[in-house]
Assembly symmetry: C2
Homo-oligomer: 355 residues x 2
């Protein structure tokens, strides 16, 4: 049914749909079910050590022979600013008291920037595809991955980033729009340009030769058809997978997703130190005035860890990072296989009615 | 060629495309050329007195027999907070000195909220359609317009606003996404929910029975086809008309539009007191730290008026309100008739290739 076969042929998949890698939410079961349904299954590996990555990859590969995408973050190593850390710990101390958590952790990184160790592990495991967020790793690593035949995808949030990625040799560009849930992948500037998917995709399509994958605000067949109309070769969908059985996000997060009409998300740095879109809650409201004085990404993620865990355990949304895109009002309670079948059928139905 | 005929039949037009009303940028020539090309031609009347409105309507009507849409703002009457006015005048005084403008005007409103006087003028002139921004006027006025057979459109930026407008009897809902240039029409909350067009349109389509018109980030046939895929009955396009011959925006503003890749716009209150999207310039940069202490809309518009005028006259972008949506990278130097012909042909071509 897909007239544009660029992405299908490049990634060796049946449908031009990528299940978004979502560190902390995607699971081997989710990625394998996506791959088994003919899409690209992805794992968010940004918080994984080399050992965890290898185990998780093996576990996923055991569940599918399909195409798998391993996703990594390419942020800078954080500088640990002791003064900033001390100040924000003071601000956060009352939350720890309230939740009766005794010790606040040290500000050490949880997310590992993609370097030689992880690159070696990727070369050993040899996934079909790797995708990067916050730019690319060193060019020598990019070349090593390409030499091995591993395809490389990376997020762009502006025309300038898309051109930069193409020049560095990526195989396809993920045009991540303002609507997207979770971390926004801008990297050439220190602030999001905030360009919505409707405006971003055609401008990037015009600027590069590589296939463009639309991401942000896509949650059903209408969104998929719309992005194909904009010139995208395919789509990446995240939030719609969060309320699937295979998702690992807490029940209370899933409830917030099912109740949202898309108007209560915001882009916030307060969970990790970098802007990410999630459903507003008490923690965001109380912390947003400190947005400009937070320690570097991902140190805040370490400091919020025990709060997020305890909040989830007690079924409270107050301190959870409830990542969500803006099309969350279209979410359904389902499983990955059924979701993908519906997405494909809906797209076909929309396209048939259009012409 | 249009399979979905809801908007075409409702508005009695040939193409489901609305040339956006843009106060200060749309002209009788622009609206008439749009109507003569089979679209809905619009005039932004938010800064017009009753007399100016009547003259402008007559001038436009003399140029076309097609469908015309008169657009008004439904903001609250401003409270003049003398302290805020005094403070912001002090902040702005150096700009007046620099541009050698002697007197800063008093903080009196330039935009007239739609009330009985304008309603009477509209009933007398009897345009085919009126559209509103920042919500609707009093229900008695809505009823009087409907009794006269005038169709009513209004902007919604959330599902909640769309449902509110439908309950109050509007004939079609303009789903205005985050990408849109100029003033954002949210009205039920005091802050934009910031929902992108890709996410907003299908969620509003699911929530209301009235036809939905997509707006924000649409600038070519790809965007039009995409919005039809999302379930919109038509589109409203603004920025693409700003670089047409019929546009009244300054040359320097048009140059900024033609040079942008969509990454340098922001939503700012500093020109009028309400958030509007425009291309960043020196005035925005220097004033954004005062965003939370500005006098009510539209008092700031009065205070910035002489700066904007002088800046335009000296071909400087520094103090101009360079309204622009995020798809501005797709803009072309053309005229309204040619633009609409291209939009229609492109849409047909995109739809033909999709299936």
């Amino acid at each position: 049914m897909w007239k544009d076969k660029r992405l299908i042929e490049l990634l060796d998949i049946q449908h031009p749909i990528i299940q978004a890698p979502m560190a902390g939410a995607s699971t081997p079961q989710m990625a394998a079910a996506s791959a088994n349904a003919g899409c690209l299954g992805s794992l968010g590996c940004a918080m994984m050590s080399v050992e965890t990555y290898q185990e998780t990859y093996a576990k996923t590969r055991a569940l599918t022979n399909g195409a798998l995408n391993m996703n990594f973050f390419c942020h800078d190593e954080p500088t640990i600013d002791e003064k900033k850390v001390k100040q924000i710990k003071q601000v956060m101390a009352p939350f720890y008291q309230e939740l009766e958590i005794e010790n606040m952790p040290d500000a050490v990184p949880t997310h590992f920037p993609f370097g030689n160790d992880l690159a070696d592990a990727v070369l050993r495991t040899n996934p079909n595809i790797v995708s990067f967020h916050f730019g690319l790793p060193e060019q020598s690593i990019v070349e090593a991955l390409k030499d091995k035949g591993i395809l490389i995808l990376c997020s762009a949030t502006t025309v300038q980033e898309a051109k930069d990625l193409e020049a560095k040799g990526v195989d396809a560009i993920i045009a991540q729009g303002w609507e997207a849930g979770g971390h926004h992948g801008f990297y050439l500037k220190d602030k999001s340009a905030g360009i919505g998917t409707m405006a971003l995709v055609p401008q990037i399509v015009d600027a590069v030769k590589a296939p463009v994958i639309a991401a942000g605000g896509i949650a059903d067949g209408r969104g998929i058809a719309a992005c194909l109309a904009l010139g995208a070769a395919g789509v990446q969908i995240g939030t719609a997978f969060l309320t699937c059985e295979e998702s690992s996000v807490p029940q209370v997060h899933q409830q917030s997703l099912m109740q949202s009409d898309g108007s209560n998300t915001s882009l916030t740095k307060v969970f990790s130190g970098r802007p990410a879109r999630g459903i507003q809650n008490r923690y965001i409201q109380e912390m947003e005035r400190f947005e400009d004085s937070l320690p570097d990404f991902p140190l805040m993620n370490t400091l919020t860890g025990p709060l997020r865990k305890e909040s989830a355990a007690s079924h409270s949304p107050d301190f959870i990072a409830q990542w969500s895109g803006q099309a969350v009002g279209l979410n359904r309670k389902t499983n990955v296989g059924d979701l993908i079948e519906s997405l494909v059928e809906e797209t076909k139905s929309v396209l048939d009615k259009l012409v």
